[in-house]
Each structure stands twice: as C-alpha cells, then as structure tokens.
Symmetry: C2
Subunit: 536 residues, 2 copies
C-alpha cells in the first residue's frame, strides 16, 4: 500500500502580486504531484500575500483574489491542494480562508475561526471569524484544516476535527519570525499531536514583507509528537513527507546568532528585491552598527550591490576611517569617501545670525548627522539604491539617534537588535567568515557617535549592559518602574531610561521600517501615543 | 417638581495623565452639582485619556486607572457621576467601561459591548466586549448606559435598556472628528430617540490627541428627536440640560470651512500645549500651504509663539519672498530670512566626484529641500520650538514631497486637506480676517515647489482639480482603476496617479503625524503595505 505522501509548499509570496503568487502556487502544485504527493498545502493567504493590510478594504483586490482562487481550483488535478486566500460571502464579509481543490473543482472552503488582533496582527480589522471546523477526505484519510492562530488558542477547531475522525491535521500559517519561535511552534505541534493522537502538518510562509520575516521551517509531527520532517528555514522549500511511512527530510535548523543573522539577511534581501532596488548604500562610520549592517547587506545581495560611504568630520578619529576602509576591503565592496566639514561650515555660517551668542549643544551634532543623511539620500536619489540605516534597538528605544540624520533611509536592518546583541552578532559574523571581516578594533573600542570632541555613548547613556536589560523589561515587557527597580536596576537609571523612551516616541513614529526579531519590535508591534503623560 | 437636570462634562483630557484627568473630573463634578444637576456624564475613557493605545498593555497603568476611578467614586456625593475608565476583571481581561458613582460609592459598572476595530480604532486589541446592557436609578428616572460604538451598530444595548424601563439614555463617547460628522451624530441620536421614545444625552470628548481631534458638540435630544441642548465645539464645556423641562443652551455650531479651520486650530494647539512646546516654526515659501499653516498656528497659539523662516535659493521668485514677508507682517509674526545657496553649493562641490558626468534630476531638488529641513530642525533644536510641516493631502498622497526635506517636522497641520481645499480654507481665513492676510497673489499664482527653473506643480502632476477627485476615490474610497475611469476620469491620468500613490507609501510611513479631518486620513487610518505589487 502506498504511503500517504503530503507536500508542504513553503513559498515566498509577494503582497499584492496575485498573478505572480497564483503562478507560483500552480507550479509548486505540479512539482508536488510529480513527486507523488496526494496533498499539497500552501501558507495562509498565499494568494494575496501576507499581510495584505488595507489592500483588504479594496473590493477589486478581494475579487481578483477570489477569481485567482477559482482559476487555481480549476487547474488542480491529480492531487488535492489546500490554498490560503480571502473568501467573501454574499453579504460582503471576508474570511481568512483555506480553499481545498481537487479534480478541477473547489471541494470545500474553511474559514479561520480565531483571528489574532495583538502584536503585529490586525485580523479583526479585516475578517469575520469562521463558524466551525472542517474535515475533508484525501486519499484514504480524513484531514482536518486549521489556519495559524486556530492552533494557538484554547477551544480551537483541532480537537473537534480529530473527534470527528481526522487522521491528519494540517495548518496553514504565516507566522512571523522572532528569535527561538520555531522551537515554540514545534513544541505546540507535538503537544497537539500527542493529545489528539493525530499527526500534524504545519506549512509556514517564508520570506520578508516590510517589517516581518517569515522563517518557514514547515514541519510534520507524528501522532507521538516526533518530528518527521522539517523544511529549510528562511528559504523556499517543497517538503515531502510520508506521514504514515518513513517521514521525510529533516533539514538542520540554525540557532541563536546564526538564526538571527539569517533572519536579518532574509528580511533585507526581500525588502530590496521585492521593491526592485538595484542595490544598497550604507554609511560606514567605522563603528560596529554600520559594520554589521554592511556585512548583512553583502550576505543578502552580494558585494557588487553594496556601496559604502564614509563621511568624516573633524571629530572623526583617524582609526574610524581606517576601520571603515578595512571593512569595505574585507567585504569587497566599493567605498566612496566624502567629508562633511565644508558643508557643515556653511550651515554654521548661515545660522550664525539666529544662533548668535548661544553656545553649542545637540543642535550642532544633529546638523552633522543631517548632512550625512542628506548625502546618503542624494546618492540614493541619483543611483536608485536603497539607503540602509544602521541604528540598533537600544538607540531607537532611547532616541539616541538624529531624526533625518542617521535615521534617514529606507530600511533599518538592525532596528530590533539591542546593542549588546550587535556585538554578539558581529562576533558570530567574524567567526562564520573565519577572519576579522569586522576589524577587531571596531569590536573593542568604546562606542561613539563622533559628533563632538571625545564623545562616547556612555556620556549620554548608561553602559549598554545596564541599559539593555532595562529596555527589555520596559519596551518589550511593559514593566513598571517599581518592578524594574525590584529586579535590581538602579532607580535613578530606570527613571532616566523610561523618560528617554517615552519622550522619543515622535522619532520612532518617523523611523524607517526594520526587521522584527523579538517578540516586541518598535514598529507596528508597539503602538504608543506621542502625546503621553503617563508615569510608568 | 424639580426638573431632571443633567450635566454633560465635555472635558479635554490628556492621554496618560491619570492624576490630571481625575482632578478635572472631580472639579467638574463639583461644578455640575453646584449648578443643580443630579447627573453628570463624562466622555469615554476620561480617566486614562483617549486613545491610550499600548499604554493599555501596561498593567501598572491599568491599575493606576482603576485606583483613580475608585478614589473618584469615593468623592462623588450629592450627584451621580458616570465616568469612562478601563475596568479589569479577576482574569485580567480589560473593558472599556462606564462607572457609575454616587453617595461616595461605586453604584455600577457598564462594559462597552461593541468595540470598533476599523479606521483609526483598534479596540479589539485591548478590550473584551461587555456582556449586557445596564440600567441604573438616578433621581426619579432609570437611566440606560451606552458607550460610543454601542449606539452606532445594530443590535446595541439601547433598545433593550429602553424596553427594560430606561427613561433616559446616556452615551459616553470619544468620537474623532471628521468634517460634517456632528450632523451625522445628531441624526443618529434623533433616530434613536424617536424610535425608542426616550431622550438621549450624548457626551463627547473634546481636544486633540496626536492625529485625532475630538470636536465635542455634546448634545441632548428629546424623545421626539428635537435638539434640546448642544455644547460648544472644539472647546471644553459643561452643558446643563433640564431633560423633562426647558432643555438647555444650544450653542451655535460652525460649518464647512469654519468647522474645518477650527478643527485644525484645536488639533495644532493641543499637540503643542500637551507636548509643552514653547512655540512653533514654519518655513514660509510664499506659497499657499505654508501661508495657511502659519495662519492656523497664529490662531492656535498667538503671533508671539510663531516664528516664520524664509530660505530662498536662486529658484525662489522675488515675489515669493515678498509674499512671505507680507504674510508675516499681516500675521504679526517674527520672520527670519536665511538662504540655502551657499550651503547648496558646498553639497554640489562635495558630491561632484560621485555625480561626475551625470545630469541634474530630482536629486538636486531634494538636496535643496533637505537643506531647508535641516535648517528648520536646527532652529527647532536650538530654541525648543516644534517645526510644523506644510504638506497637504494631495502632495502626501502622490509623494510630491521630499522625505527629510519639506516633510521634516513634528506635526503636519494640513496633511489631511486636499490642495483644492487649501485654497478654500485660505479664502475663508482671509474672509474671516476681513482682509487679505494671505496676499491675494499667493491665492492666484500657479503653485510651484521652486526647486528648479520655472518649475510648476503641473509639470509633474495633473491640475489639482483633476487630481483631487481621483485621490478622493482612490485614497479615501478604495476604488479600482475601472471604477475611477467609469466615473469620468481619464484612464492615463488615473493609472499615473495610482502608481504615484502606491509607490510613495514609504514616504508616508516616515511622515509626521497630522490632523485627521476626513473619513480616511493618511495616518493610522490607512494601513498599506510598502512592499506591494497590487494593481488597483
């Protein structure tokens, strides 16, 4: 007897590109059929791409997606395909749906019952919840359908589908990455499988979409909770698995720094490619943030598509430019050397009237940063390249960054990476490269913005190993000042950090998008008022 | 027999300022009692301020709000007060609640049943829905409670409360302004009142919070649907009304341009005051957008707190500077004259290497705009003033603006006002002022960004009277290209406009917040992906 062979089609869709996504779905279905699968499962909302956001308010977009689904169903033969799309009922209500197609016909449509509306998710904005579970026959089995959140909540459809006779549960997901999430997913699948004595096949989306990276890692878990097959992470894959036989390939999974590094590479690559930029520009300060960002960019796009720019001033240490050059040379990227001194002096002269008699303060530092931002944007405008910004989560949280200055650019690669992790990831990058691509001195010098004489970050901020744990509790954990103090942080430092975070919300509101790698990032994941007189 | 006198406490709260809001609630309660009211009603979420956004994820904030509510209830005597706050149950679920206090005790707590999760609203992110309606005795009556959305949906609690014996329905709202919304609200109240033969008292929030303005206009409608009393719009008010007697004061309501103008003034004033800026800076180009913004700023803050800046270049027409000066003089504001020519030339020289052999394009225009942005931000940094940006909705929709250039600033006053309406509002402003405060020439010259020789907006964009109706259909109405063409717009123009809108989402994502005055603004009201290959 032939085993029940299923295929998990872990594809990288593009939001809004219904014809392109549909084409990919049909091509992958054909490959799955040729590989002997009786069932192929696609990610959640594979037809419109995920998350389509307010495209879902456009009726013509919804209708195009339904037409694409019907055309796909017409073409699915010799295999059963389960495809994510947006279903519409006669009253104009929309559902996050899984369509089942076989024999050139629609065999059924399941509506996601549980709509996440927290974190980055706004599904209650768009969808009505489904009314009940769904089983359908495939080969010799009955298969229960679930979509993403359905298996993350109590009272989801899974147990009811198993009770009604499901011999396999499939889950269509578009589950955004954060560090370590894959293992959480595996544990969940295993728990469901064991509790229901039923194997679970989980198909996840892969690829970057604005601030989100979908990490793939689709998997099949046996009825005993054993991992039978795992797809690649951060790459497209077609995972085949004989559910009642020998299972399938178990791809090795990256961990810790490697996992985060690959997430940042995937997110950067897809933002650049899907938005059709020829390449990227990175301002190289000789500091660790820009060095790591340049390294990620080269990994994502190749050295030929990355342009480094140094923009030195009188405050720039000689070793900063040396280190920037060493980095560029190690990475094999082109580097342009410019300086901001002359431009700065004309600003100074033009502003000498209004500033007469006033002493220098952060204003003069910000002007320097904004000259650099303007230069990078000018190169971007002229050559069509995307400017990558280099601010990390520690800086972005406390507002230690110049709006329209170092914050100027289209994509903030390490926006969700705390400074202490920037060091860790840089060491990983050098280790992986087998040599100090990021010069050792960059890793050991005290960090400085070099906008004033002998400046150091620690003049304005607590040391990062003090700051980051506080930020983790406040920004990611919503802790109060008393709670943070009780955890051992000095009260005066905690109060200062809370003030810095709250008062810099206006900067974050105008920051470029960046890749989410923690359970709470600084973009749509954390929606704080600017006008805000709360005391944490 | 004494009439049933109620008070609608239309207060201006500050998000997060629980102690300040609580103080205001108690002071207003005392005033209502002294005025002979038996009942005083406050807006939705008056204690935390509205909308508190992700402050609601912080347990310490929620607990502070509950403590404030209990302390308020302890102090309410000689009157019944209905106050919006966030209630929490033992399982940690939160409710958008109306607490009823009298005799120094909590008399009841109603939980909002219908949670809006569309447009600017994210209430499903924070709250659980209430389980049922609530009646409570006040004076000789039974009063039914509703909170905002509860009366905007079918199947809300109102009819059930009337059936159960309510003699008055109160509604606590924090209903964001858009043009003409007050009349929609009045019609709704009248319909409810007539259908249920029961008067309705509607208390709305007033004041600005980031992108939202709450317009007040609290009202009481009789059982026959007649307006018995109306509070001021865009200002705090304590509206007294003898519901079963002579009613109360009916404040005149502004309309059309006056209404929008007052909304923009209120929104600007509160953003500045609540964030404690000493004043504002406006770059004056001699064009209509910056002229109107300066006029609104003076109306909001007084001339002494508004600083104008001209920043001319070789492309600046002489009449532009003359008109900017005339405007400043008419408004009575200080004006600094700077020029960007020298700075521009140093940029040109610094970039001459990388740009060698390449012809001028939008890059050179953007550099000029960014020099201006940097100058305005330098003045802002040095003097602590907020930079107001002057871009209108037409420009922001099609991306006819320079990111970090003319888009640089903290608050975008007319971001939700189409260019054709900028003209209308400017004429209204001159009319109201009784003279051409905005020089007539500004109103009649063809608009130009003055970033290249003899430039006009119409070189790059359709005429605004062609553009704006298309934008209204696309940006506000989610129409498809075929629908817009069927409405009589030329297909080639429609396609071009759609492309411009879709391709400039990255700019809008980094734009400063601005005041919502239409049913769909460009901020949190419209959440589009940047990476987006849809075809409208």
């Amino acid at each position: 007897m032939k085993p029940l062979r299923i295929a998990l089609a872990q594809i990288n869709t593009i939001v809004g590109d219904i014809p392109g996504n549909a084409r990919k779905i049909l091509e992958t279905t054909a490959r799955a059929r040729e590989a002997g699968a009786v069932l192929v499962v696609f990610p959640e909302l594979a037809i419109p791409g995920y998350p389509p956001e307010d495209l879902l308010l456009r009726v013509s977009f919804l209708e195009e997606n339904v037409r694409a689904w019907k055309e796909i169903a017409r073409q699915v033969k010799g295999i059963t395909a389960v495809v994510g799309f947006v279903d519409r009922d006669a009253r104009g209500r929309n559902y996050n749906a899984a369509g089942i197609a076989a024999g050139g016909r629609v065999r059924g449509v399941y509506h996601k019952m549980h709509l996440p509306n927290y974190g980055v998710f706004d599904e209650a904005r768009y969808f009505s919840p489904g009314k009940g579970p769904m089983l359908f026959p495939a080969g010799r089995s009955a298969i229960g359908i679930t979509v993403c959140e359905d298996i993350w909540v109590r009272g989801g459809p899974l147990p009811r589908e198993v009770k009604a006779g499901a011999r396999l549960i499939v889950n269509l997901s578009s589950s955004p990455y954060h560090a370590g999430k894959w293992e959480t997913r595996r544990e969940l699948m295993a728990r469901h499988a064991v509790a229901s004595r039923c194997p679970v096949a989980y198909c996840n989306l892969v690829g970057g979409q604005d601030e989100l990276v979908f990490d793939g890692g689709s998997m099949v878990v046996s009825a005993k909770g054993k991992l039978l097959a795992r797809a690649r992470m951060f790459e497209e894959d077609l995972l085949l698995c004989d559910v009642d036989g020998n299972g399938g390939r178990i791809d090795p999974a990256p961990k810790d720094e490697e996992e985060i590094f690959r997430a940042l590479v995937a997110g950067t690559r897809d933002y650049v490619e899907k938005n059709r930029f020829p390449g990227v520009i990175v301002g190289l300060s000789g500091g660790i943030d820009s060095s790591l960002v340049a390294g990620i960019a080269v990994e994502a796009l190749g050295a030929a598509r990355v342009l480094g720019v140094t923009m030195s001033s009188i405050y720039t240490a000689k070793m900063s430019v040396e280190d920037a050059h060493a980095l560029a040379s190690n990475l094999g990227i082109r580097c342009i050397d410019l300086s901001i001194g002359d431009i700065y002096r004309t600003f100074e002269s033009e502003l000498s009237g209004p500033f007469q008699g006033l002493s220098a303060d952060a204003t003069e530092e910000n002007i320097q940063a904004r000259i650099r931002g303007t230069i990078l944007m000018a190169l971007s405008n002229k050559f069509g390249h995307l400017v990558l910004t280099t601010g990390n989560k520690s800086e972005m949280s406390v507002g230690y960054a110049t709006l329209y200055g170092d914050m100027a650019g289209g994509f903030a690669v390490i926006k969700d990476l705390f400074k202490t992790n920037v060091y860790r990831l840089s060491r990983y990058f050098n280790g992986k490269s087998g040599r100090a691509v990021i010069p050792e001195r960059v890793l050991t010098r005290p960090p400085s913005a070099e906008l004033a004489p002998d400046q150091r970050d620690s003049d304005s901020l607590p040391e990062y190993d003090v700051l980051d744990p506080i930020l983790r509790m406040y920004v990611e954990g919503d802790k109060s000042i008393p709670e943070m103090v009780a955890a051992g942080n000095p009260e005066e430092v905690v109060r200062r950090v809370v003030g810095l975070v709250d008062n810099s919300e206006y900067k974050r509101r105008q920051a470029p998008p960046g890749i989410k790698i923690t359970p709470r990032a600084l973009g749509r994941d954390r929606r704080m008022p600017i006008t805000n007189r709360s005391n944490a």
